[in-house]
Symmetry: D2
Subunit: 142 residues, 4 copies
């Protein structure tokens, strides 16, 4: 008999973020989640190593993609008890990501048995949309 997976709360995910070497390095902070609406949001503060060019406060696209992947992942992961494998990920860069932080919100569009599709929007400190992501994840219990 299989047990229902433990749903994760914000503090659980923050602890997982802090424990992961790469996510910890990015310094992601959980902003909120809603299990019923299948939404999850987090913030990525700027640190000098994340800049595209030194002193510009513009995030390199790599950390933006990493942020999108992780926020999308935990929109599913919070339902199944941990991070899940990413099958594939699409990123569209809409504007330069400039500022002291960027925020992302993920919403699950479809959670199937073997695959799940998640949309992720990323906003700058001025509230403007800077990038969008769409990921397919493998929602097996972590």
């Amino acid at each position: 008999m299989s047990e229902a997976p433990k749903k994760l709360e914000a503090a659980d995910i923050q602890a997982m973020f802090d424990r992961s070497p790469f996510i910890g390095f990015l310094g992601l902070k959980v902003l909120g989640l809603d299990h019923a609406a299948s939404t999850f949001s987090a913030r990525m503060p700027l640190r000098p190593e994340l800049e595209r060019r030194a002193g510009t406060k513009q995030f390199h696209g790599g950390p933006v993609a990493s942020f999108i992947d992780t926020v999308g992942d935990f929109a599913i992961g919070m339902l199944v008890g941990g991070g899940v494998p990413t099958i594939n990920l699409r990123i569209d860069y809409l504007r330069p990501s400039v500022g002291d932080y960027i925020d992302a919100t993920a919403v699950v569009r479809r959670a199937g048995k073997s695959t799940a599709v998640v949309d992720i929007d990323v906003f700058g400190p001025d509230g403007k949309l800077v990038a969008v992501g769409r990921g397919t994840y493998s929602p097996q219990t972590a």
Copy 2:
């Protein structure tokens, strides 16, 4: 009258990599390039901050995506004199990326006036394909 852009050699790109805060952090090393064939390759060594879980030698998907984006970018960038904006990017994760380094090779599939499409393959130390990327870039002179 517009001047032809300066084509970049391996040492030029390595200097640009080292100067970029994020690419420098990733520690990317240029492996080779071929202007005529429009191919470019590089290596990303493992460092502890890039791991998915501490001590596993498995790269987190974020650095893999960042690596793919950067190698694809410079397959165009080497022709136009510097890094170019990424319009969008698709990453497919095929196997866990485990080892002391991963290598990527990019090939330009089509270089149009306003957009260029590049394929990027990523291999583990054992030569197995671990991820593939396809990116659309804006190939204006940097």
Copy 3:
């Protein structure tokens, strides 16, 4: 001196649909549009040639992709006076598309000078989301 492009109304687009051999074959019907909100929606009725297997009322994925592309295209096209080139297109199939018709709604996420990004959601007759698309278009005046 360049002239502002003529914005298209529903009847203009319907006439363009009917004139295009392939879109006319698909039989697309304009449902509505909102220039200010940058949204456009249309319906694709089932016809026997569009089925995956005869008699199942399930649309083949090809017409679904074609429908997504066209509806996304005219969410930009209605602002610039005609159909625009698709740079690339991503389709996620979430559920079988079964029924006498499917509906799609497109929303422009970002309209830049040289590229525009559009999201397209497709719904079955029961209102369930059956597929999602995201396209990058070249929004030059048609």
Copy 4:
């Protein structure tokens, strides 16, 4: 005890193509396949309903996407005995597809237990690359 799926030969796939209402309408012709190399190729002849504008001999992007999806699908399908569900698909349009036919070749990049990734290249009658596709399929026995 589960049985190994029946591998499909060219004639088997052609019969399946002809039986499918939509693929039959497109008129796809199998060109060749290689089970060991995991490659599959086919041709799509022009017919008036597939044109973007009447009389131009330019294929609409929708049939090109449909062709890519189908050829990618059977690169996996030939190994497992029939068409398989498409999870998602990316299409990049590189040049207008003009002529009496277009050809596509698919190669499996990775066939996992629950997902497979396939690359599809499309060529015009002059041998120029006109579009590329990358799809993720669900390779369960059909």
